[in-house]
Every structure is written in C-alpha cells, then in structure tokens.
Amino acid sequence: MKTIAKKKSDIKLALVLLLPAILLVLLLVAYPMLSNIKISFFDQPINPRLPADFVGFKNYSDIIKDAAFYKSLGLTILYTVLTVIGSTAVGLAIALFFNRPFKFRKTARSLIILSYVTPSISLVFAWKYMFNNSYGIVNYLGTDVFHIFKNAPLWFDNPVSSFLVVVIFAIWKYFPYAFISFLAILQTIDKSLFEAADIDGATLWQKFKVVTLPAIMPVLLTVVTLRFIWMFYMFTDVYLLTNKVNILGIYLYQTAFAFNDLGKASSISVILFIILFIVIIVARKRVNLNGSN
C-alpha cells in the first residue's frame, strides 16, 4: 500500500521538478531541431514577419550542386580528423609523462590545462599577433633567427597556411581535455601489472600495448568520439582566427547571416545533423558515451 502511494507522488513531484528543464529543452532545442527541417523546405526571409515561400527540395538540390559545399565538407573532415588525432595523441603523451609522482605536479597540471579554460577570444588575439606577417614572433624566429623559411609566410592570407594555424591552434587548445581524461584513468591502473611485465622483460612499447592501452581503451573511445562531434561542428575558433578556412560551421553561418539565405542554411544544418547522427549511432555500439567508466 505504502509503496504504491509513494510511487504516485513521485511521478508528480518528478514532473514538477523537471518541468523547467523539459520545457526549456523542448522549446529551445527540440522545437528548433524540427523547425530546422521545416525551414529547409522554404525560402525564408531574415525578417520573421515576412512570409516564407515553400520551395520543396530546392535548397537541398542547391547545396548538392554547390561546389563550395563539397570543398567545405572535405575541409571539415580533414580539420576534424587532424585535430582529433592531434589533440588525443598529445593529451595521451603528456598524461603518460605526468603519470608518476613528482614535485609541483598539481601546479603543472593546472598550468597545462590553461589553454582549455581560457576563452577563445583571448587566445585568438595572441595567435593572430604571434603569426602576424611583419612583426609576429613566429616569422621573426622562422625567418630571421633560425632561417627555416626563405620568405616569411603570409600566414592568414593563404588558405593552406591558415588551415595549418587553425589545426595547430585546435590541438593546442583541446589536448587538455584528453590529457585530464587519460591521466585520471592511468592512475587507476594496477602498478603490479607493470612490475610483472618488467620481470618478463617487456619493452616500453610492449608494456604500453599490453597493459596501458587495454586499460585506457574505453576512455580513448569516448574522448575520440566526443571530440570528433565537437570539432565537426566547430565555428567560433576558426571564424575568429581567419576568413580563409571555410569549414561547414562557417559555411552555414555565412549562408544564413552573410547571404541571408536561412532556408539553405537550415538544409545545411539538417545535413550536418544527419552526418553526426550516423556517427553517434555507429559509436554508440562500442563507446560508452555517458562518460562514466
């Protein structure tokens, strides 16, 4: 009797407590998601009071015929793959380096994470300054001091070098996320496993492959999947650094707010969403995306 009464009161209370969160998410996440699909079939003016014309699949066929879309998609995949591999590898390497007792460990750990917690807007100015064509420290060191480049590269004037800067920036900014995740799991590995491997005469690489890698595998998969998703729809960092690297996030933003073509922008969102959805479905089978191990 008592448990039934308790159950009944639970659902009522639960709904009341969850109401603000559910309402907000429904109104400003779920509804916009669906609304995206609807807008993608319309020629939507930027002024919400003007009527929108139904255009069927025109926005989609425009995108499929747009060479800029494929260029952007290719660039986005390259950007995502390079930054995910880079930030994960650097994060793992530094986590392995930190996985021992030493003085100032906590301070060093906090300092290493600094690029991750600092707002992009602050970091971007420093990078633009460092890579400035005429008075940046990178060109000064590369050309005048170490003579690596014959002619000082015009970093942000050229799509290839801009892309390079944007990738290095992302690896530098986001490796601490992988670092923190790996360091936490590395500390849980039983030290006796390494001792046993030492007795068997295992090399450093063998120890990594047989002991470390299997232990960190679940975290590795989670880190890679989440970082992949986040990098795939990156906008801010790249947009603030350069106008020469049109990844999908920027292609979408410009279609919407520079060319005022909201319908086409919505269809780009839908395509992006479908790609990410496939990634998540594939990843879900192997990866514990709940972050808890």
Binding site: A21, V25, P119, S120, S122, A126, T222, T236, S292
Partner: protein, 283 residues
C-alpha cells in the same frame, strides 16, 4: 653498482624536470606573449625585431581599457557578467531540481529523459542557429541580453543536470529516508540535505555554466547588434576589426577577459575535490 644506479636515477630525474619545463614553456608561450605585449608600448609591439621582454615596461594599456572614453571595455565586461551570472544561476537552480528528480525519484520515463538530455549535451551550437534566430526575433527579443541569457541557460542546462545527477547519485538513500521519518518534505530534503552535501558539485556546475556563457561568441554575434549590449567576445572582436586597434590594449583586454574564468577554475581546482576538469566537460 649502487652508486651508478643512484646517479642514473638522478640523471633521469633531472631529464624529467627539464622535459617538464620545456613542455610548459611551449604550451604557455602564447600566454607569455600576451602578457609581455600588454606591457609593451604600442610602438614596441609592432617592432619587426621583437624582444621577449619589454624594453620599457608600461601599465598604460591596463589603465586605458578601463577608461570608457577610450575603450568601451567596462560596458562589455558588465554585459558579460550579467549574462553569465544570471544564466549560470538559473541553470544551476533548474539543474538541481531536475537532477534530484532523475537521481532520487522513481518514475516511468526516467531513463528516456536522462538519455535525451544527454543527446542535447552532444549537439546544439551552430546546428540550431537558424531556428533560434527565427524564434528569438519572432519573440521580439532580438538585440537584448535576455535572448542571450535564455540561450545560455538552455545550452548549459542538460550538462548541469547530467553533472549534478552524478553527484546526487553518490548521496546514500538512508540519509533521505531518515530525514523523511523526521518529517522533512522532499523540497526541504533538497535544501537541507542534498544541496549542502553536494555543494562542491554545485559550485563546479556553476563555474562550468558561467564559463560557457562568458566565452560564447556565436550566439552573441547573431542576437546582438548594438554595441551597448555587446558582451566581451563580440565586443572585442568588433574592436579588432576596426583599423585603430592597439595590440597592447587588445592583449590587456584579452587577459582581463580571461581572468574571471581562469580565476574561478583555479579556485575550484584548489578547493574542490572532483571538480569539473575531472568529469570531462563539454568544450
């Protein structure tokens, strides 16, 4: 034999510390450049043979950014503070209620709700820009701080619930049962038992939400159009696009902009066990 192994150990240790210093040097180099440029004169900052340290040290740029006749920094700072504080507070408040329901109450649909919040944690951002713009301007909220506050609450709430739930899950149920026998209502239990016991988690979630709102550029750039409503990221970027930016001033502004979030992070790192950097937070 013993001597050589001792020597080896010392060598290894020295090597490690040299490696550590080099590593930190490389990773922190942009911060060093920022700080030094903010302390150089404007002329020195654009010298083609740059020096690491300023030849003449000056605090002028820091004085300038707080002078409203030169630089609207204080106004941007105030806007950012309002948006981030309100958004983070509401996100934490709604988050506590929602997380409590998902953690401690048993009801149908709990798993589904939990999973859908988690999906939101992975998405959003640029994917929702067009419809959100349409909704916000349809509601007449275009170019208001309120638009940004609401968006930031929604952006952070799913993660807030997700993080808080994992804190609440660690609170033993016996405690609550005992309180119920004493006649405490559920709401009182939240206030007198759950919140005090997970205060460190709540602070971490607040810091996380504050950071997301403080750092946001995307939504500020589509919702705000008049300079008096600008938050720091969009305000600074707009100033940078004008021809009369001064490097030292931009660097000083960048550092002061980073200060609140880095400070909060450092404090939570120091005083809170199991803080946000251990859970793996979106970013």
């Amino acid at each position: 034999m013993a001597v050589t192994s001792k020597k080896n150990k010392l060598l290894k240790k020295t090597g490690f510390y040299i490696g550590l210093v080099l590593l930190l040097g490389v990773m922190l180099f942009p911060f060093f450049i920022m700080l030094m440029t903010s302390l150089k004169s404007s002329k020195e900052a654009i010298s083609t043979s740059p020096t690491l340290l300023p030849k003449v040290w000056t605090f002028q740029h820091y004085i300038d950014i707080f002078n409203p006749t030169i630089f609207p920094y204080i106004n941007y700072f105030k806007n950012s503070l309002i948006v981030a504080l309100i958004a983070a507070s509401i996100s934490v408040a709604f988050g506590i209620l929602g997380a409590y329901a998902l953690s401690k109450l048993k009801f149908k649909g709990r798993v589904t709700i939990n999973a859908s919040f988690y999906t939101v944690y992975m998405f959003s951002g640029i994917l929702l820009v067009v419809p959100l713009f349409k909704i916000i301007s349809g509601l007449g909220l275009y170019d208001t701080r309120l638009a940004l506050i609401i968006t930031m609450i929604v952006q952070t709430l799913p993660t807030a619930i997700f993080m808080l739930k994992s804190y609440f899950d660690t609170i033993p149920e016996d405690l609550e049962e005992a309180a119920m026998i004493d006649g405490l209502s559920r709401l009182k239990i939240i206030f007198y038992i759950i919140i005090p016991l997970s205060i460190s988690g709540i602070v971490s979630v607040f810091v996380y939400a504050f950071m997301i709102a403080w750092n946001d550029y995307l939504f500020a750039s589509i919702f705000l159009s008049s300079s008096e409503n600008f938050t720091l990221p969009i305000g600074l970027n707009t100033l940078f696009s004008t021809p009369d930016y001064v490097w030292g001033r931009m660097m000083a502004a960048s550092l002061v902009t980073a200060l609140p979030v880095v400070g909060m992070y450092a404090l939570s790192e120091r005083f809170i066990k199991g803080n946000l950097t251990e859970g793996g937070v979106k970013g």
